[in-house]
Structures are given as C-alpha cells and as structure tokens.
Amino acid sequence: MLFPISDETLISRALNGSQQSWVKLVTRYEKLVYNYCLRMTRNSHDAMDLMQEAFLSIYRNLPSYRGEGQFKTWMMRITANKTIDFLRHSRRHPQQSLDEMSEEERQGFPAPDSDNPYQVYAQQRHNLEIRGMMAQLVPEQRLVVELKFFQHFTFEEIAFQTGVPVNTVKSRLYAALQKLKLQLEVQHVM
C-alpha cells in the first residue's frame, strides 16, 4: 500500500467491528511491545503473556481513546500499567529468581536471520546483557529506563505513562543509573 492507513482510521474501523483493522494495528506495534515486555520480564513466556494482556487491555479500553495524543503514547501507558501489575505480581509470587538463568537463556535465543555464527552469538549476548542489567532494577526503575533509553520518550511522556510526577521520574532514572553503575563495573571487570 502506497500510503499506510493511520492509527486513528484503524482504531475507528476496529471499534466498528473490523477484526482485520485490529489485526493490522496489533501487527504494527506488536514487535515494539513484545521487545519491551521481553526487556521488562526477562522471559519470553512471561513477555508473551504480558503482551497479550496488554493488547487485551488496549482493545477493551479502545473506546476511551479520544485521539488527543499519539496512540503509541496512550498504548504504552496501558502497557506500562500492565507491566507494573505483572512485575508486582511476579515479585509476590516468584516462580524464577531473576538471578537465575532460564532454560531459554542457557540455550540461547532463537537464531536471528543471519548466517554468521559470531554475529548471531554477539547479538544474543548483547540482548542477554541488557536483560540481565534490567533485571537488577526494581520494576519502577526498570520501567523508567525502558521508556527513556529504549522507547525514547520524554520525561513528560514517561510521567504521563507511569502516572507519577516528572521529578519522580527523573529521580528514579538517576537512582537506576546509580544501580546500573555497579552492574556495568562488574561486567567490565569480568
């Protein structure tokens, strides 16, 4: 298609019962949300569950979206709320220690589309390092780091998505960087 259909048009059609429009909208953002969930949960199964819960919540709240801001910001706010709930629930009911490597992590990620084994290994290694570092942060700090460094939202947008004041967001980011410092230093020593 020469001109992609706007989010608002797809939302309007989805609200009128068009499953195809909803699938297009999900397809447009699912990779973003899935990788976000992957970094936040450190486990692909949890990431899938969280992503599905997020999209379910987005769909149910779709009638309340009034197009005042970007759909991506609104969608990520719902995803952030779901993520916080998910992480709090996971912290209360731990099934796997964050320090422990999951079976998936020991075996490595599914191979990306590359024929170079070293390149594949390097990419997987980078992702594992990032997820390992993110796992050291408390959920609120992890969320701020994710939204700031990976989603590149402004502090105001992060404050809108997390529902806390801008100064709190900045403080959380500073504290998260303090905490990440130790992790990075340990990795550099190793």
Binding site: G17, Q19, W22, V23, V26, T27, E30, K31, Y34, N35, L38, R39, S44, M48, M51, Q52, F55, L56, I58, Y59, R60, F109, P110, P112, Q123, Q124, H126, N127, E129, I130, M133, V145, K148, F149, F150, F155, N167, K170, S171, L173, Y174, L177, Q178, L180, K181, L184
Partner: protein, 218 residues
C-alpha cells in the same frame, strides 16, 4: 563543594542530547567535574544509550491476535445486548400488559384488553349457558305445573260431579220420601174415607135391614 545531584538529575537527558542552553550546560559541566556520582551517572547513561542501540529486535512468536481481544468482546456484546433486549422486552410486556393470542389469528393487545375481552366473552358464554339451563328448567316446571293443574281440575270436576250427584240423589230421596209420605197420607185418608163409607154403608145396610125387618115385622 557538596552536590545534591539535582542538576544532573534534572538535566542529564537534555545534556546528553545537547539541547541545554549554554548557561545550564556550563553548570552541568562543572557538576560533572566536581561530583563523582554525577560523573559516573553521566558515563553510565552514555554507556546505556550505546548499549540500548545494540539491542537486537526479537521477532514476535506466532500468536492469535484476535482470540485474546475481539472474540470475547463480540461474545460479551452479543450476550449483553441480547440480555438487555430480553430484559427490556420483558419489562414492556409486564408493564404494558401485552398479550399475544393466536386463537383467531395473531392478536397482540396492550393494557390487558385481550384478557378483559376474554373474560367478557367467558361471562357472556356462561350467561348464555345459564339462560339455556334456566329456560329448560322453567319449561319443565311449567309442564309439570300444567300437568298437575289438569289433574287437579279433573279431580275437582270429578268431585264436583260426585257432590252434585249426591245432592241430586238426596233431593230425589227427599222428593221420594215426601211423595211416599204424601201417598201414604193420601192412601190413609182414602182408606179412612173408604172405611167411613164402608161403615156408612154398613150402617146404612144395617139401618135398611132394620127397617126392612121392622117393615116385615109390621
């Protein structure tokens, strides 16, 4: 110089992006030089910016994009709308006293008119039945009464004839008795007269005989 880290906390992002105005940028430069924690924070932020760029986007495993959202919603909508429509219909039927009948074709009435008409028809039918039964009872009673009246009339007539006959018999007996008494009296008078005549005759005969004998004797 003590640092409360507030400057770097507030402007670290803008400092890294290079969007700070020169005055604030200079203050941040000084803070980063003087405060070790702020300096390390800045360095880690830069490292993390670099590291985040190395994230290899993972493909989403295959999943059902509609099952988790659209389908339950459609079921929910269908069920809720059906339930709402049924409730409203029931409410209208109850409040409006709507009645549907198929006795004489399809009839829909409001306000209980149909039941009222049905009650009236039922009452009329019962009245008609009552009227018929009462008419039969009255006819039977009239027939019985007429029959009894005829019987009574016949009995009265027979009694009257009987009485009349007795009266005439009594009259006849009285007449006969009177006639016989009169005849008896007449006969007795006749007998008396005949006796008297016979006595007179006897006396006359005796007188004549006497005379004759006297005459003979003479």
């Amino acid at each position: 110089m003590s640092c409360d880290h507030q400057l770097i906390t507030d402007y670290l992002d803008a400092y890294i992006k290079g969007t700070l105005d020169p005055v604030l940028r200079k203050k941040c430069d000084e803070a980063l030089l003087q405060c070790g924690r702020c300096h390390e924070c800045h360095a880690r932020a830069l490292e993390f910016c670099h590291l985040s760029g190395q994230w290899e986007e993972q493909d989403v495993p295959s999943w059902h994009r509609v099952r988790y959202a659209v389908k339950p919603r459609q079921q929910y909508n269908w069920l809720s709308w059906t339930a709402l429509a049924t409730s409203c219909l029931t409410l209208v039927l109850v409040v409006g006293k709507v009645e549907v009948s198929a006795d004489r074709g399809l009839m829909i009435s409001f306000g209980g008119q149909q039941s009222e008409a049905r009650v009236q028809a039922r009452v009329a039918q019962q009245l008609e039945m009552f009227r018929t039964v009462e008419k039969q009872v009255l006819e039977t009673r009239f027939a019985d009464f007429s029959q009894k009246q005829n019987s009574a009339n016949l009995l009265l007539l027979a009694d009257w004839q009987n009485r009349n006959r007795q009266e005439r018999r009594q009259d006849m007996e009285f007449l006969m008795t009177s006639w016989e008494r009169q005849r008896f009296q007449d006969r007795r008078q006749t007998d008396e007269r005949l006796s008297y005549l016979a006595q007179n005759q006897i006396d006359s005969d005796q007188y004549l005989n006497e005379l004759l004998r006297t005459a003979d004797n003479r």
